[in-house]
């Protein structure tokens, strides 16, 4: 095993467990695994709930059970510019207030359908180019990013790629004239 992989495994093992020691036990602990983000335990829970509304459990597992929120935070922490990290974190922090202002309730008090409506509404926001629009811009960016990464993390999960739609490293020989009608796959019920 090379050093890079070893370090990565170490990061995966320790990821999410290490907390920055805090003297003020009443405040939310900041998760040290995502060093570029100031994400608290409760914010990560909220992110988990949002991702699980985007891809809920049904006949097949949902995003939360596949630990998609961890994937989202790893991607935002590692693969985004500082500017976009700020936008994402701002949107995540502003989301509870957005829920309150939009539907008058806390997110976790909403029904599944109401949660989906709220998220879809945030995704579809067309933020105005005004100071008031700034908050909407953060909400919209946060939700669109979360949706995109939830989809990626879900479909590129071990569960989906081994049990549901097995991934093959060997795709088979090329057929440059395959009839679509002969290529239909059985429907999968999520």
């Amino acid at each position: 095993m090379n050093r890079r992989i070893a370090l990565r495994h170490l990061a995966l093992i320790s990821g999410g467990l290490a907390l920055i020691p805090s003297c003020d036990f009443s405040s939310d602990d900041i998760l040290a695994a995502y060093e570029n983000l100031k994400v608290t335990t409760s914010q990560k829970q909220l992110l988990g709930a949002i991702s699980d509304s985007i891809i809920p459990a049904g006949e097949l597992k949902g995003a939360l059970e596949l630990e998609v929120p961890d994937f989202i935070l790893v991607m935002v922490n590692d693969c985004m510019t500082a500017e976009n990290q700020v936008l994402f974190s701002t949107g995540l922090a502003a989301f509870p207030a957005y829920a309150k202002n939009t539907v008058g309730k806390k997110f976790d008090q909403l029904s599944s359908r109401e949660k989906e409506d709220l998220i879809q509404g945030g995704i579809d926001l067309q933020p105005a180019e005004t100071p008031e629009g700034e908050k909407d811009r953060a909400i919209s960016y946060f939700l669109n990013t979360t949706k995109k990464l939830t989809m990626q993390g879900y479909m590129a999960s071990e569960y989906i790629q081994t049990e549901i739609i097995p991934y093959s490293l060997i795709p088979g020989p090329y057929n440059g004239a395959a009839l679509i009608s002969e290529n239909q796959k059985p429907r999968i019920n999520g």
Binding site: A11, M75, A156, L169, N175, G176, I188
Partner: protein, 570 residues
């Protein structure tokens, strides 16, 4: 500089030394091994053993922490290599990081490097089209650079020699612009690509679109089994290193073969400082090597030196090899060393849609795509610019999930049940343009700035010219017209204005020629002034033509190795 030649000279003496183990150096090693020449094969990078040192080769998508994407920090620290299409989470360990060897861009140049045993042969695009005499005769006919000292007939048997061993798949297309070779069965074009090929023949007669010849094993043969290589599995994960040896790399093919001969010693982590020139003997006697880890300098000796360090570094080694006889670089009596540096122009592309064959799609994978051989200015001058371009070509059918489905079960079911393709086929071409080598395009050393190994820093003065700009316009116009005649619609052209270098086809600086006053190398790849030094990689290129050049370097290396052995028998 510590000079610790502790081991005795005899232990450090070989019959041949090869500097660099990429596609061309690997071929020289294979030939010397077969011919019984005691050879030292040097590479500046670490060893990469076939299969064993391909850490990502069998990783599944979910095993990559970032699913293939590189962290922002890596991209920020490596703005140059980050532009390379093949640089990703699965392949980053085969690319030299920007900080490994900083260089000066008097004019912008994206220099992509693979510093390990096998070099860029692990990362190349594996397209292998032969040159023809339309290419070799270009400079003489059109009055630029200098005349090539060789012609197709000199190289043809060596193309065959390397194709048979490396494994090249392709069809016998019968084109005089792109000679046929020793091919394994070619890969299929898809139905829309075949439509385009057919239309081009009908409409133009002399414009073609073929399945590109590629260095992949499409059919098993004893000579590949003997190398421990199997047929290509269409994985399209070549940049990770192939556990089947399905494509040609030095690592899967020539290097293990050379080592098996018992005649070749591989020494990784050996950064070559310079070639040693003996004034009394009037020839090169060896190389000075900096240990990549300890930075200690050691000398190695041989009768014949092959410089195959990849185009830029082969120039740099000769420039840094100074002596009273050669104050401006080894063999540089002409003063052209580093000059007439050129590349391929990849700036332009054309894409379009096709509304036909909607009931079809493609399945499975293939390691190649379509290729449009050069048709411009082939038999005579037709345009107001010199030379021409080849084109890549491919057609593909989209499809997939509806990303804008409403979040919740709608989105989930949409993702799990991608819709069959219902839009049109998409087609695309990219340009591979010949650039004209000229004195004002050059690389040089800045001896006041030293790199982490204490070597002078390279600086680049390479740019496009008016000929390139005219060629871009012509490519866009001609391909658009060809697309239109094939019934393609929604045609759009692009010019991405990339700087030179990302083509990774840098060439020249140590050009071949007939006249020692205007060239560095003779027709056998020997330095005119130091005939026991050979250069057979991209540095030796007199002109660039349009074909992906690696196959030609491989043939050069094999031919030159045999020449060196024949000379030693005299």
């Amino acid at each position: 500089m510590a000079n610790l030649n502790i081991r005795n000279k005899q232990e450090r003496t070989y019959q041949a030394i090869i500097v660099g183990s990429g596609a061309s150096g690997g071929w020289a090693a294979k030939e010397f091994g077969d011919l019984g020449v005691k050879t030292l094969l040097l590479d500046r990078g670490r060893d990469v053993k076939h299969i064993k040192d391909y850490p990502t080769t069998n990783m599944l998508p979910y095993e990559f922490k970032h699913r293939g994407k590189l962290p922002q920090k890596v991209l920020d620290e490596n703005p140059i290599v980050a532009k390379c299409y093949a640089y990703g989470e699965d392949s980053e360990h085969f690319f030299a990081k920007d900080s490994e060897q900083p260089y000066i861009q008097d004019k912008p140049f994206d220099w992509i490097r693979g510093y390990q045993v096998g070099g860029k042969s692990l990362l190349w695009a594996r397209q292998v089209q032969r040159w023809s005499d339309y290419d070799f005769e270009g400079p003489a006919r059109d009055g630029f650079a200098v005349d090539w000292p060789i012609r197709y007939k000199d190289l043809a048997p060596w193309y065959s020699h390397v194709e048979k061993f490396a494994g090249v798949s392709g069809n016998l297309d019968g084109l005089d612009t792109l000679p046929d070779g020793e091919f394994l069965p070619g890969y299929d074009l898809n139905i829309v690509e075949m439509h385009f090929a057919q239309k081009m023949k009908e409409v133009y007669g002399d414009r073609h679109m073929i399945s590109a010849r590629c260095a992949h094993i499409h059919e098993t043969r004893p000579e590949f089994s003997e190398q421990g290589r199997a047929t290509c599995q269409n994985r399209n994960l070549c940049q990770r290193g192939c556990p089947f040896g399905g494509y040609f790399s030095s690592n899967s093919s020539t290097i293990p073969w050379a080592l098996k001969s018992g005649n070749v010693t591989l020494r990784p982590d050996s950064v070559v400082h310079s070639v040693i020139y003996d004034e009394e003997k009037g020839k090169a006697t060896g190389v000075r090597v900096i240990d990549a880890h300890t930075k200690e300098v050691e000398e190695f000796y041989a009768d014949v030196i092959f410089i195959n360090a990849a185009a830029v570094n082969s120039n740099a080694i000769l420039m840094n090899s100074t002596s009273a006889r050669f104050p401006n670089g080894l063999g540089n009596d002409s003063g052209v060393l580093g000059k007439y540096f050129a590349f391929h122009n990849y700036r332009a592309g054309v894409s379009a849609s096709y509304d036909g064959y909607k009931e079809y799609t493609t399945t499975g994978g293939r390691p190649t795509s379509g290729y449009i051989p050069r048709f411009r200015n082939v038999k005579k001058q037709e345009t107001d610019f010199l030379r021409g371009y080849a084109g890549g070509f491919s057609a593909y059918r989209g499809g997939g999930y509806v990303a804008d489905a409403r979040v919740g079960m709608d989105l989930k079911n949409s993702m799990l049940n991608p819709t069959p393709p219902d839009g049109p086929w998409r087609v695309g071409s990219h340009m591979m343009g010949e650039t004209i080598p000229k004195e004002s395009n050059f690389i040089a050393l800045d001896k006041d700035k030293l790199d982490p190994y204490g070597l002078p820093t390279l600086k680049f003065n390479v740019d496009y010219d008016d000929n390139d700009e005219k060629m871009i316009i012509d490519y866009q116009e001609q391909i658009s017209e060809m697309f239109s005649k094939a019934g393609f619609t929604d045609i759009s052209v692009r010019d991405d204005h990339r700087v030179p270098g990302l083509d990774i086809h840098e060439m020249g600086g140590v050009r071949m020629g007939k006249d020692p006053k205007t060239s560095m190398l003779n027709g056998n790849h020997q330095l005119h002034a130091v005939p026991n030094v050979y250069v057979t990689d991209g540095a030796c290129m007199t002109s660039t033509s349009t074909q992906n050049p690696t196959l030609t370097y491989m043939a050069f290396a094999a031919r030159a190795a045999h020449h060196a052995v024949n000379e030693s028998k005299k």
